[in-house]
């Protein structure tokens, strides 16, 4: 099934699936709230609209502000090419730490851009986003590192292969899924850490970060967020499949798509059900993720 591995097809997936995912989340949320909601293809039209609009840039902003979204997108795009988030092997063989740092680098650039404009809300958003990632990153990294030690390699392909049928793998996968889910919620600024639909600037985390962006840059940022969502959710899906017996590539691909759909439904439901955590209580939630990751590391350290 060599055509699956081909780069163009992969890129097509990268272009279509993220925005579809976002549209799907919004649709499910709307249905849960008893509305009809926008169509699933709405994000595409939104990106198109934003690409055609002119940008408003603050006078005090420098080149950083103009370049950051592009840098962010390239980092996330590269990461998308490295992580086997679709269930098929990725075109570039990705390394765990490289991917984590790429995603972090992207976030860093956007934070810089927000600070660059000199507006108060940008700084607020940047500092909050940084604070949240301080709590969330260890969970993700430690969890994946535990898997890496277990597989004796930090390459994603070996990492996610695991040893099928091994009990330790199942337990490890469960713990890492918990850790990763908690971390991903924070990374993607979803409830209960941050409400993506809020209009009150003082309660924003991610939205405040990108408040100053408009036009083409905003389109790039929104698309990058959507791509990151798909990568991380796909990664979690792969970890879940790690504990299951091996299938052929085709089945893994379909199962991954199914898991992505399920993950979006779960996200939508939790966005509807949970309320946003008070800012001081976000570390409480994140500690569970880090705790699960630490337990996974302990397990690997004790039992190999």
């Amino acid at each position: 099934m060599n055509w699956m591995y081909s780069l163009p097809l992969y890129v097509v997936h990268i272009l279509i699936i993220p925005l579809l995912l976002i549209g799907f989340i919004r649709k499910v949320k709307a249905r849960l709230q008893n509305r009809r909601g926008p169509s699933i293809l709405q994000p595409f039209w939104d990106i198109a609209k934003m690409l055609s609009k002119a940008e408003t840039i603050s006078k005090t902003a420098s080149g950083t502000f103009r370049m950051a979204p592009m840098v962010n997108l390239s980092a996330v795009f590269t990461a998308a090419l490295m992580v086997p988030w679709l269930g098929v092997p990725s075109p570039i063989a990705g390394d765990l730490f490289l991917v984590v740092y790429l995603l972090a680098a992207g976030k860093f650039c956007i934070g810089l851009a927000a600070l660059d404009t000199g507006s108060a809300f940008g700084a607020l958003g940047a500092s909050r986003e940084a604070a949240v990632s301080i709590h969330a990153e260890p969970a993700l990294v430690l969890g994946l590192a535990a898997l890496a030690v277990h597989a004796h390699s930090s390459k994603f392909s070996t990492l996610l292969a695991g040893t099928p049928g091994n009990e330790l793998t199942t337990i490890l996968a469960a713990l890492v899924v918990v850790a990763a889910w908690v971390a991903v919620i924070a990374d993607l600024s979803r409830m209960p850490v941050d409400d993506p639909t809020t209009h009150l600037e003082l309660t924003m985390v991610h939205e405040a970060l990108i408040l100053e962006n408009s036009g083409r840059n905003l389109a790039l940022i929104e698309y990058a967020v959507a791509l990151k969502t798909s990568i991380l959710l796909g990664l979690i899906g792969q970890i879940i499949l790690m504990g299951a017996p091996r299938h052929s590539i085709g089945t893994t691909y379909l199962l991954t798509l199914l898991l992505l759909a399920i993950a979006t439904v779960v996200l939508a439901v939790s966005e509807t059900v949970f309320v946003k955590l008070g800012w001081k209580r976000v570390p409480n939630l994140q500690s569970f993720g880090t705790g699960a990751a630490i337990l996974a590391c302990l397990l690997v350290a004790l039992k190999g």
Partner: protein
């Protein structure tokens, strides 16, 4: 899964539930987790009783599920509602710090594993739950939260006793269960009275008798 595996699975999940309880400040949530933990332990007791052919142990398991898994949580939530306490936010260190301290204590216990080969397999999770119960009692300041901590402690000891190769005489087990329940009822009554008299249930403020 075979019996030893399901037993270990139950014991470890009970320990993880106790760990979860340390990180939570909401009173109702911790009582619910305690109820689930008792439920799991009762199931474990029933499984062991079925395997070893001790019908009385099955009875103890059912008693634990009904009493500690349903009635006590219901009573405690009712007491909490009457007293009007929701969240125990008066702890000396914040919840995440406590969570990590608990995690390190558990790891220490794991490291002590090779010390005593003669102990039953359930010892490590049981000692873990015991330590976590102690921690809950020390760090919580609301009277009703301390009761929950005490109950978690008892759960840990219960897990240890059912993990032995031949469990303790049933009279002793039932007697212990009854004692613990009476203690909880009495403590609940006292908590009501404390709330009525002192207008709060913060036991750190009960310092009128000193010296």
């Amino acid at each position: 899964m075979g019996l030893p595996q399901s037993f270990e699975f139950g014991a470890v999940s009970a320990a993880l539930l106790a760990l979860w309880m340390v990180g939570i400040t909401d009173f109702r949530a911790s009582v619910t987790l305690f109820g689930i933990q008792s439920f799991v332990l009762g199931l474990v007791a029933i499984a062991i009783g079925a395997r070893h052919g001790e019908p009385l142990l099955i009875l103890v398991g059912v008693a634990v599920i009904v009493l500690k898994g349903l009635i006590v949580p219901y009573y405690l939530i009712y007491a909490g509602r009457r007293i009007g306490c929701r969240r125990d936010s008066l702890m000396p260190v914040s919840a995440p710090t406590q969570f990590f301290i608990a995690l390190s204590l558990l790891s220490l216990v794991l490291l002590l594993r090779p010390l005593h080969a003669e102990l039953p397999t359930s010892t490590l999770p049981a000692v873990g739950i015991l330590i976590l119960g102690m921690m809950l009692m020390i760090t919580r300041r609301l009277a009703v939260s301390q009761i929950v901590g005490f109950l978690v402690l008892e759960n840990g000891i219960f897990l240890y006793t059912i993990g032995q190769s031949h469990s303790m005489p049933i009279v002793v087990e039932i007697g212990v269960l009854m004692d613990v329940l009476s203690c909880v009822m009495l403590a609940g009554l006292l908590a009501f009275k404390i709330n009525k008299t002192f207008e709060h249930i913060d036991v750190a403020e009960l310092t009128e008798l000193i010296g």
